[in-house]
């Protein structure tokens, strides 16, 4: 494989295509950056320590006797390394990021500021309870907003992310079933579900079966009813679903599942569309995780951390995991293994060390208080309005498989029907990159061919949507007329299309020092 190990480009003035090249490979503000291990050394450091007397007498005879190979940088080098790398990222701060089902909304900076208050950021999870009353109150406050917004009586705050919340919900369900001596083995999941749903059900020890969708992109209620029975522990429904549609039969689905002795798990990834507009508790939901990094604006950080609190129905509340915060008189306590025995003996146990994503709770609290009840309702309305504006602006040029059945919720779904034969969704996506946008979610949900799931969120202005629509429309036209140049996109990004097959066939997952450097050690 032809990798340039130094990261620098060769100094040819013109490349094969006759384009001008620079000596460095840089192009003005677009700067190439080598790997940390190519610029740092094990002797360089960006941290000073005062003088001290080293003492190595008590390490059990296990003193390190070989080098680790950790490259170090001085502070200016480190700041430059990471700043240069940061500029190779697209981000919500730069522009529209319409990744469907991911809810890439603006991340308010007040959130970051309050999360860094020493009283929150600099407290240890095992401090005496009397020294962290404000922290516990904050967890209680966020929990109270979540239960009120969802109309559910209880919430488990400790899950670390959405998928971890799904696991929490399913374990509550399993514990509740086992408590009544009911051994059920199957979890039903719609074909359009996020991959985490079936993976979670399997992780919790269940067998997964698919339930089909009807022609309008909703759960087929009759097919579901036929399948329900004494072996079905739960049905996992995403509502609004991954086609961007509200499940109008949700209450009927819940009633049918309950009548058959099962529980309803709702994937709350798309709660942003209905926050302040509908309470999932009114729809018969038993458990639903809420991605604080979606609806409640905590940053995605390039892949987390998230937070996945789970709201629970009265039937599941007794089985919620430890620990949790409880108000006793005017004092907040943390109910852990020790105190749980008295009044929370049915808890399914602990699912994480300590008590959850405090740093995300502070950010979510800042967001909730900022918006208030009125603002959150407006969030859902603007998110839905923005998505419908895109749906209607593009359904003339793109196939909207469920566009006929009415408005969408927070995201608009299109298929690649009508594209020229050798062009696909990915080509349109990569061309959007050249136009300065992050692409939409591609090829998901699986039930739609070449799916394009566009979620603009409520934090986009009309001008921003109009610009995006113009670009999208133009690229879609090119895809339909078979414009082969789309296959070359992106051409203006820091990298052209990357060879994913090569990466998977010959995985290179860590940097290996070049041989001569090794020999010299």
């Amino acid at each position: 494989m032809t990798v340039n190990p130094s990261g620098w480009r060769p100094s040819t003035p013109v490349n094969d295509a006759g384009e001008a090249q620079t000596v460095t490979g840089n192009k003005a503000l677009m700067l190439e950056e080598p790997l940390l291990f190519e610029i740092g050394t094990t002797e360089q450091t960006g941290v000073d320590f005062g003088e001290f007397k080293a003492n190595s007498g008590r390490l059990g005879g296990l003193e390190r006797n070989r080098d680790i190979g950790l490259a170090g940088l001085s502070e200016p080098e480190a700041v430059r390394h990471y700043t240069r790398l940061s500029r190779q990222n697209y981000a919500i701060d730069l522009g529209l990021f319409p990744l469907g089902s991911c809810t890439m909304k603006h991340n308010p900076r007040l959130n970051e500021k309050v999360a860094r208050l020493p009283g929150f950021a600099d407290t240890h999870p095992l401090q005496p309870i009397d020294t962290v009353q404000g922290g516990l109150e904050l967890i209680d406050l966020v929990g109270n907003w979540l239960t009120t917004l969802t109309g559910m009586p209880a919430v488990a705050m400790s899950p670390k992310a959405g998928a971890h919340g799904e696991l929490c919900g399913l374990l509550c369900i399993r514990a509740a079933l086992e408590a009544r001596g009911d051994k059920r083995e199957v979890v039903l999941v719609p074909e359009s579900a996020h991959g985490t749903n079936p993976a979670t059900a399997a992780f919790a020890g269940y067998r997964v079966e698919n339930i089909p969708a009807n022609e309008a992109g909703r759960v087929d209620l009759e097919a579901l009813k036929t399948r329900l029975g004494p072996d079905v522990a739960a049905v996992m429904i995403t509502n609004p679903n991954t086609c961007g549609l509200f499940e109008p039969d949700m209450k009927a689905i819940s009633d049918a599942v309950h009548a058959a002795g099962g529980f309803v798990y709702c994937d709350g990834a798309n709660f942003n569309a209905i926050v302040g507009k509908v309470r999932p508790g009114d729809l018969g939901v038993d458990a639903m995780h809420i991605n604080l990094h979606k609806t409640f604006s905590t940053p995605h950080g390039g892949g987390g951390p998230g937070a996945g609190p789970v709201v629970l129905s009265a039937a599941l509340a007794p089985f919620a995991p430890l620990p949790f915060v409880e108000k006793q008189g005017d004092r907040f306590v943390l109910v852990e293994e020790e105190t749980a025995e008295e009044h929370h003996a049915q808890s399914f146990g602990r699912m994480v060390a300590f008590h959850g994503q405090m740093g995300m709770f502070t950010r979510a609290a800042s967001y909730m208080l900022s918006h208030g009840a009125d603002g959150l309702k407006q969030v859902a309305e603007d998110a839905v309005l923005n998505a419908n504006y895109i749906l209607r602006a593009l359904d003339g040029v793109l196939d909207a498989p469920f566009g006929e059945s009415g408005p969408c919720m927070h995201e608009a779904l299109f298929s690649d029907r009508g594209f020229a034969e050798d062009l696909s969704t990915i080509d349109l996506a990569k061309a959007l990159i050249d136009e300065g946008f992050h692409p939409m979610t591609m090829y998901f949900p699986l039930v739609v061919h070449g799916a394009m799931l566009v979620e603009p969120t409520e934090t986009e202005s009309k001008a921003s949507l109009d610009q995006f629509i113009a670009a999208f429309r133009s690229i879609a036209e090119r895809a339909k007329t078979g414009d082969e140049s789309l296959k070359a996109a992106p051409v203006y990004a820091p990298r052209r299309r990357l060879d994913e097959t090569l990466a998977a066939r010959k995985p290179v997952l860590v940097y290996k020092d070049p041989e001569p450097a090794r020999a010299a050690e």
């Binding site: 094990t42 320590f49 080293a54 962290v132 109008p248 892949g303 995991p321 900022s370």
Partner: protein
């Protein structure tokens, strides 16, 4: 509302464009009797930035921050000094507000960072490969047990008594549902770890032995013999590191034969944050990489032959494999991995070693002074920056009284092991570079008074 750009005029214009008379026309799939027409009355209305900051600052002030007092808590979360540039870098919008790097052409920043992170973690833990992070150490530990089950096709794991009790608790919770058999026991207040009894317990049914290094009481044990015994029986050794700074000074678990090494990376770059978010470390042998959970960044080339990075081997993951995935994990701990990586780059090998030496030196000094308090016994013979002392009285009330004096004096074993009588006098004391001579003096004086 300051976070919403649409004006009322925009809204009317857009409603007209989509053919809706009112906004609720767009919510027509919601049963009308369930659609909320007014803001939820039980919750307050929107508030200015000033108001929100004031309210949350008031809450934060009710907490005693670690930096304000002599501070000695550890047990899976450690207070270290984090260079100012770390927080500056993780607040760059291009890192902070990016998503999981699904479009690699415009996510090379995150992807290269993850590749560098994987390299740092693998080298630090002494393994061939590492993933792009897990939620935290405790969930990484359970994922390692599940991975060992997949590799060995056995479902009985032996957990060392020195493993963090929360980690044991998480594994016990999960095992109840998955049918895995876990052998667990309580630690004892002496200097000898349970290495011998672990070795004796390994048999042909064992999938893995799980050993924390240094352990919950701070003791350091040679993993070599345990690895040997495990391998002789076709089992794996899973090592758990909750204080990665220790590896600047002591041997890595990988070089002693551990097959999977998991850890809590919070110590490096990530603050205490009252328990989260933290960053789980996960490393193993190259031959097991397809059994690993979590995301992996890998090197490749672009259409012009330039080096670049992508997420790879995703056929292990939930979005492709669904119910057959190696784990259900999706979002991990990306930004904390960045913080870890930046801090580790600033330290470098030289800095990490110095930091580790400084921690150990401070801890040795504290151990000597505290164990000289009448009635106090040092449990450990070996330790890095955390050790256990046995008090002449129950430790939990002592910790509370110390807090009243403005000293956060350690973690009592009564808090971690409620009901375990033999452990109630145990106090685990962590001493990092942030602890001063005066801090040690304050704890020493407090213990003198309270242990009479």
């Amino acid at each position: 509302m300051r976070y919403l750009p649409l004006s009322d005029a925009d809204r009317s214009e857009m409603l007209q464009a989509v053919g809706a008379a009112t906004i609720d026309d767009l919510f027509r799939d919601v049963p009308p009797e369930l659609l909320l027409r007014e803001p939820i009355a039980e919750l307050p209305p929107h508030a200015s930035e000033l108001c929100v900051e004031r309210q949350l600052t008031a809450l934060a002030r009710q907490n005693l921050a670690a930096g304000e007092v002599p501070f000695f808590l550890g047990c899976g979360a450690y207070k270290h000094h984090i260079p100012a540039s770390v927080d500056h870098i993780i607040q760059r919008g291009e890192f902070l507000t990016a998503y999981t790097p699904y479009q690699p052409e415009i996510a090379q920043g995150t992807l290269q960072v993850l590749f560098e992170f994987q390299t740092q973690v693998a080298r630090l833990l002494g393994c061939e490969v590492a993933n792009a992070s897990m939620y935290d150490g405790s969930t990484a530990c359970w994922e390692a047990i599940v991975m060992a089950r997949r590799i060995t096709r056995r479902a009985k794991a032996i957990l060392s008594s020195g493993l963090h009790p929360h980690y044991v608790s998480v594994a016990n919770t999960m095992a109840k549902f998955t049918g895995d058999v876990l052998e667990t026991s309580l630690p004892e207040l002496n200097s000898v770890t349970d290495g011998e009894s672990l070795i004796a317990a390994i048999d042909g049914e064992t999938s893995a032995v799980v050993v924390q290094y240094p352990d919950i009481l701070g003791r350091i044990t040679d993993l070599g013999p345990i690895a040997e015994a495990a391998h002789a029986n076709g089992a794996l050794l899973i090592a758990v590191v909750t204080e990665p700074v220790a590896l600047g000074l002591i041997r890595s678990p990988g070089e002693m034969g551990a097959d999977i090494v998991v850890g809590e990376g919070q110590s490096i770059g990530v603050g205490l944050q009252f328990g989260g978010p933290y960053v789980g470390l996960f490393a193993t042998r190259e031959k097991y990489v397809r059994q690993m959970p979590g995301r992996l960044a890998g090197e490749t080339v672009d259409a012009e032959g330039k080096r670049g990075f992508v997420l790879t081997l995703s056929t292990r993951e939930q979005h492709i494999r669904r119910e057959k995935a190696t784990s259900n994990i999706c979002t991990n701990s990306g930004l904390c991995a960045l913080a870890f990586s930046v801090h580790m780059s600033l330290l470098g090998e030289k800095g990490l070693r110095k930091l580790a030496q400084l921690n150990h030196a401070r801890a040795c000094e504290a151990a000597d002074r505290l164990s000289a308090v009448p009635g106090v016994r040092l449990v450990n013979e070996s330790f890095f920056n955390e050790f256990t002392i046995e008090l002449p009285v129950e430790a939990r009330p002592v910790v509370r009284h110390l807090a009243d004096k403005g000293i956060l004096g350690g973690v009592s074993l009564g808090r971690l092991y409620p009901g375990a009588d033999a452990l109630q006098n145990g106090l685990v004391v962590a001493v990092t570079e942030t602890v001063t001579d005066e801090d040690i003096g304050a704890l020493e004086a407090g213990l003198k008074e309270l242990c009479q």
